[in-house]
Symmetry: C2
Subunit: 211 residues, 2 copies
DNA sequence: GTCTATAGGTGGATAGAC
DNA sequence: GTCTATCCACCTATAGAC
């Protein structure tokens, strides 16, 4: 992890950053997702990348800068994943299954959703990070709301209350399931809850795979 | 755990502790529930209680000791609350409503469930705290499982899957709802999700109060 | 039981050479 | 861009007087 000269990374959309900065973010992201934003230091990143702390400060002057970049990138990647889902299928049930799979992938790498993690540390975060954190949840909520609304209209999903409130409930349930499951180091625990969230919406259980 | 002279506090069940130690735990608990276990220091507690840090170390030598006492007390009080619910009603739906109210009370004091908070910091906690944390969730899961099982048997509740899995899903959903709602400083957001969790189990929405 | 004083370590962050 | 060296604030924890 040490590519000094050129940059290699296209990164057409959003903020461009050097490959080195991306590597720092990769390490910081993993630490933040496992230990929390207050649970790691520049020294931890430096050790993993075999560079000095001072070097890290060149790329991200303050930890608040690092945290900002962390959420910004995470939100951007997540938004791309949601766009990819939209591009892949029109079916609300299938969209939700794929949405759940995004969380499942995070859990499978023995991490917690970055923003779920930061939500716990909310009170200790710089104001900028607090705002960006809510924006992440807002974006998730909007996407879920649209999917739920459309799914209900198409007779694919069933639920009472507004789509928005249901979206909030789904988001919270998945975040909470990750949170608790991680204490048991048991992905199945998350999957079990996720399956129930989908079932409660009327999404049938997957019996056979359908490409 | 160090009770020199008398104690003043009745505390018939469980570990006895001085009134001073209880005061320290009160302050530490609030800090842990708002900022996380890694988000506060002995200095924070000392400032709130107008004593010195050294004084705190007399009652809780290490922070691990403090954390242990924190979970132990929280679990004990929670268990008593569950016992009180059991003593008050036989109806599974009513039990669940009261269970939700326990969480609602925590949220209303602008806190997060202590153990939900600690679950986020899981990887950074002393092993003893990790074990006690899982015990807390286990106890919740057992109680919920019994209530769900009984409620279904009595035709009061409806759900597929095993009661145990449903219990895990309910617990996770409530913890996650608290987690996210706190970022918005909005208790209603928690209540909305909690109501849906109950509704999905077939618990009717409360129309009129019934003492 | 509480205090002062302090040890020993780590946190984020900066200066300036290379 | 990365390094060495360093600053200072803060952390947990202890010694010993009162």
């Amino acid at each position: 992890m040490r590519l000094p000269s050129q940059t290699t990374v296209p990164a057409r959309s959003g903020t461009q950053r050097s490959a080195i900065a991306e590597g720092i973010l990769d390490a910081a992201e993993r630490l933040a997702q496992t230990r929390g934003f207050n649970g790691f230091s520049y020294a931890d990143i430096a050790a993993q990348l075999s560079v000095t702390k001072a070097s890290l400060h060149y790329h991200f002057p303050s930890k608040a800068d690092l945290g900002h970049a962390l959420i910004e990138r995470y939100s951007r990647v997540f938004a791309q994943a949601l766009a990819a889902i939209d591009a892949h299928t029109e079916d609300a049930g299938e969209k939700l299954k794929r949405y759940v799979r995004l969380y499942d992938d995070v859990m499978s790498s023995e991490r917690m959703c970055l923003c779920g993690m930061l939500a716990a540390e909310y009170a200790t975060l710089p104001v900028a990070m607090q705002d960006e954190l809510r924006s992440f949840f807002d974006a998730n909520e909007r996407w879920l709301t649209d999917v739920l609304e459309e799914g209900r209209r198409a007779g694919r999903l069933t639920f009472r209350e507004s789509a928005r409130k249901r979206a909030q409930a789904v988001l919270g349930a998945l975040e909470g399931a990750m949170l608790v499951a991680r204490a048991y180091g048991d992905v199945r625990r998350f999957r079990s809850t996720a399956a129930q969230v989908l079932a409660d919406l009327g999404v049938e259980r997957p019996r056979a795979a359908h490409a």
